[in-house]
Symmetry: C2
Subunit: 240 residues, 2 copies
DNA sequence: GCAAAAGTGTTAATCTTACACCCATGC
DNA sequence: GCATGGGTGTAAGATTAACACTTTTGC
């Protein structure tokens, strides 16, 4: 067997490799105007002048990777306890003009209504995901990858509720699913399935100020809340 | 709008962040003796003396992230065109005793029969995935995560064929699914489903040298081969 | 009273599961 | 001829998909 080396020795012999920068990028989703939106910022690099990019930052040497993406969210949106999921790490050689930077992509789901950050805030702005054409770096590919993952995940896990206010009607919930999946769903079948899943609690309250018959209001069963850290697996599935 | 800065300037202002090391770790799966195996190496760090770890290496500044994992595979197994899938990036602060190292985990599927690398080769050895208890670093967690992803993926995509020889019987294929999923499958239902998927081509050949009635041999439809780079999505699903 | 969306059930089609007997080969 | 696994079909149950009318509210 080869001679053992200590970790300290290994570190010194590999110092020349400590020259790849590590960043995180967050695809921050929200729901407004019956559309799925993504939060973008004007790029501050000459190379991408006039283009938008995702929100990201270099990972600090003294913070966990997941923590870095929570920090980006906190700094940008002032939100804590946000749903966040790691999706993929992008590491092509020339993805960043500043040099070698690999980035780990996360997506997060936030509720615009709860948020001081409304539709404009310095250089940040919300964009309909279906209308985003081109982004700085490889961020369009990152957005597409995260959107695809979100679509897969919402069929199986009760995570869309992070995009809605505490109380919502079944119609709002269905509109949201339709916006995410990009398909129309049958109303009766949707309602049956979602009730069967037992994700919801009937609040015995009604919508107010709607110009038509008010719908019942529901909330997510509290034990299923997935705000903040580490999402857990369940067995359930909502087939569209 | 904030003043634009050039990429070169941004790089110099962030030099202090270029001190996180980036590695890849490969969970190399193979199939032998009706069990799913994983290739491990004796750790060469004092801190983990006597323990096994996954195969990994630091990413070189001049290679893509994906390429780094292909390189690890090539160097260790002498195999090219191997199925490889990125799973997750692990970036906890203290996951590596040498310092700050984040690692991107991949799993790969190789066919032991085609491989010069047989059951022993210096410090490398194959271990039944169900019998692995403890590994160096956070490698047990990485193994578990990759195994879980593999289990999800084999239900939807024709990837298990990377673990089998070119020609195989339906019994061998079923044994392999059972080994991966850790469940028993009904023989008639399995055969119906797998034939329905249209993944296989009947070779009009029979097993030889079996001590019972020989089974028909099949191969994967060539258009579905997923060796090497980038796997593609299809719609199919094999429910167990 | 009319526009707008809420609420609600049934049927047909499809998919999934459970299950048992005869067949071909090596020894 | 016997042990071993190969090969095959059907029926019951569960799930999914398609589809229309009545109700409640605001105006």
């Amino acid at each position: 067997m080869a001679k053992l080396k200590s970790a300290a020795l290994e570190k010194s012999s590999h110092l020349e490799y400590f020259n790849i920068a590590v960043s995180v990028d967050c695809v921050i989703f929200a729901y407004a105007e019956k559309a799925l939106k993504v939060l973008l910022i004007q790029s501050d690099l000459e190379e991408f002048a006039g283009m938008y990019s995702l929100l990201g930052d270099l990972v600090r040497p003294d913070e966990d990777l997941d923590e870095a993406s929570y920090r980006v969210l906190r700094e940008r949106t002032d939100l804590h306890d946000v749903y966040l999921e790691q999706v993929h790490t992008f590491g092509n050689l020339n993805r960043h003009p500043s040099g070698r930077v690999i980035t780990t992509a996360y997506y997060s789901l936030i509720n615009l209504k709860n948020n001081k950050l409304q539709l404009t805030h310095n250089e940040l702005s919300w964009h309909d995901v279906n209308k985003v054409r081109k982004l700085a770096f490889d961020h369009k590919q990152i957005l597409d990858t995260c959107l695809q993952r979100l679509r897969e995940k919402v069929l199986e896990q009760p995570i869309v509720f992070n995009l809605l206010p505490e109380k919502f009607s079944l119609r709002e919930l269905q509109d949201l699913y339709e916006a995410i999946l990009g398909v129309e769903l049958d109303r009766r079948n949707f309602r049956k399935r979602i009730i069967l899943k037992d994700w919801l609690i009937d609040l015995n309250e009604m919508e107010v100020d709607v110009p038509h018959r008010p719908g019942k209001l529901y909330k997510l069963r509290p034990s299923l809340k997935r705000n903040g850290k580490l999402s857990v697996k369940s067995e359930q599935k909502l087939t569209a």
